[in-house]
């Protein structure tokens, strides 16, 4: 990482140290202080076409008992389509579909790049994974130290026992 030039140009060295610092100590993210979820606004509500899909053809009404209700939303200005049939409740599916659409629109506005919240989420996951690893490591280290100490104590005791036996 340290090139030959580093010795001669202090500014570069500074930049590298800075970068190293920032990469080794990432900014911690709190789960309670995530960037907000994109909101579904009234403007969006005006721009969408909502469709309910129940498998089209065939008899309906009392003749058939379907338990799924798929909701499809189309955002007319952008042509983005999302659908949802995650739950059995149409009300619930409508809400979830709107959240999904708000997220997709936020991504679209960001040039199809993941939005701030998603990045934060990824970082949060990495962070929690790292902290888990750290905890596991320190736990192992502690256990190992304890074991070593026990061993040491045991050998001391054995030595003393031997000593006392020999002295007799």
């Amino acid at each position: 990482m340290f090139g030959i030039t580093v010795k001669t140009i202090p500014a570069v060295r500074l930049a590298i140290t800075y970068r190293m610092l920032s990469s080794s100590i990432p900014q911690t993210i709190k789960k309670s202080k995530m960037p907000p979820r994109p909101k579904f606004t009234d403007d969006m509500e005006r721009d969408i076409e909502e469709k309910f899909l129940h498998g089209g053809r065939g008899p309906g009404g009392q003749k058939i008992n379907k338990c799924n209700s798929k909701v499809q939303l189309r955002h007319v200005p952008t042509g983005i389509v999302v659908d949802c049939q995650a739950t059995r409740s149409r009300d619930q599916n409508r809400k979830i579909a709107r959240e999904k659409l708000a997220l997709r629109l936020a991504q679209w506005e960001n040039g199809d790049q993941p939005i701030e919240r998603e990045l934060a989420k990824i970082q949060w996951e990495q962070q929690s994974k790292r902290s888990k690893e750290r905890k596991a490591k320190s736990k192992h280290r502690e256990a190992q130290e304890q074991r070593q100490q026990q061993k040491l104590q045991q050998t001391i005791e054995e030595k003393q026992l031997l000593k006392s036996l020999l002295e007799q």
Partner: protein, 295 residues
């Protein structure tokens, strides 16, 4: 019943060994079967119960009877064998109608009667969202009335203006709430003609849902024309086909004070016939309600 090849059954069994049981009722659609399994897993925690549910689904028991509930608009209603499961079509028109009903009715001013209530979905959805309304409901089946009362409690409306009685409207219409005049009558009557029943209903419906709530032709629409029209200012009746719509519309065509119309569901099938008085005694603007309801 579609034939599902053993190869497909084997491949879905590799994903989850319970999936093949669900595949039959989903007419071979794998993603539908997966969806159903995830609902079952969500609502039943015990592995034995989940396995049993899948076995029951293989025997074509409606999923709603297994999970014991069915969402209806904002409500989560109990369902039980012996009472018809609320359909999405009913939910659709019912929620559309409720959105159009006036929000500010003076206490006890707006009276709704729900006939053939079954689980009580329509009555309870109205009573839940329009709490000042007086809602009365009637059903013939004692099982339905028992379930309806349980649902009133489940939704938390036991201290409100919801009443239900058991009565046969085809025989004793004149004695039911005989002193009341209503602003709105809603009804989801049985509407499958008996000669179509075997041909058009799915196996699950034929085996497990009450025939009482399914099979009839024009009886309930005749009953509407004869007994209920003089006692209400508007009505919404669910229908199975165009013939039943026409029957009601023709029956009221000589009566110039009544306006009628048809509402289609999102599968483009005629689903409701409605009617209202253009110049009612009350101050409620039915034209406004039903103009936007029909579209």
């Amino acid at each position: 019943m579609p034939r599902i090849s053993p190869r497909i059954l084997k491949s879905v069994a590799n994903i989850d060994r319970r999936l093949p049981y669900l595949l039959f009722e989903c007419s071979g659609n794998i993603s539908d079967a997966k969806q159903e399994l995830s609902w079952i897993k969500n609502e039943l925690q015990d592995a034995n119960l989940i396995n049993r549910a899948c076995w029951l689904r293989y025997n074509r028991v409606p999923l709603q009877y297994i999970l014991k509930t069915q969402p209806f608009g904002p409500l989560d209603l109990l369902v039980r064998p012996g009472v018809l499961i609320p359909r999405w079509e009913t939910e659709e028109w019912c929620m559309d109608l409720i959105a159009k009903l006036p929000e500010k009715a003076r206490q006890g001013q707006f009276k709704v009667l729900d006939l053939c209530s079954g689980s009580g979905c329509i009555a309870l959805a109205i009573a839940h969202t329009r709490t000042e309304y007086i809602v009365k409901s009637v059903d013939l089946s004692p099982k339905a009335i028992a379930l309806l009362k349980d649902n009133v409690r489940k939704v938390g409306l036991q201290n409100t203006n919801v009443q239900c009685i058991q009565a046969d409207i085809l025989r004793h219409s004149e004695h039911i709430y005989s002193k009341d005049k209503f602003n709105l009558i809603t009804c989801n009557p049985p509407y499958i003609p008996s000669n179509n029943f075997v041909k058009e209903c799915t196996t699950s419906v034929k085996l497990y849902e009450p025939r009482l709530a399914l099979v009839a032709d024009l009886e309930f629409y005749d009953n509407l024309l004869q007994y209920w029209i003089p006692r209400t200012e508007s009505f919404v009746y669910e229908v199975g086909d165009m013939k039943q719509c026409q029957h009601v519309i023709n029956g009221l065509s000589h009566n110039t004070s009544w306006k009628t119309g048809i509402k289609y569901d999102s599968n483009d099938k005629p689903r409701c016939v409605y009617g209202y008085l253009a110049n009612p005694e009350s101050t409620i603007d039915y034209v406004k309600i039903f103009d936007s309801f029909s579209t």
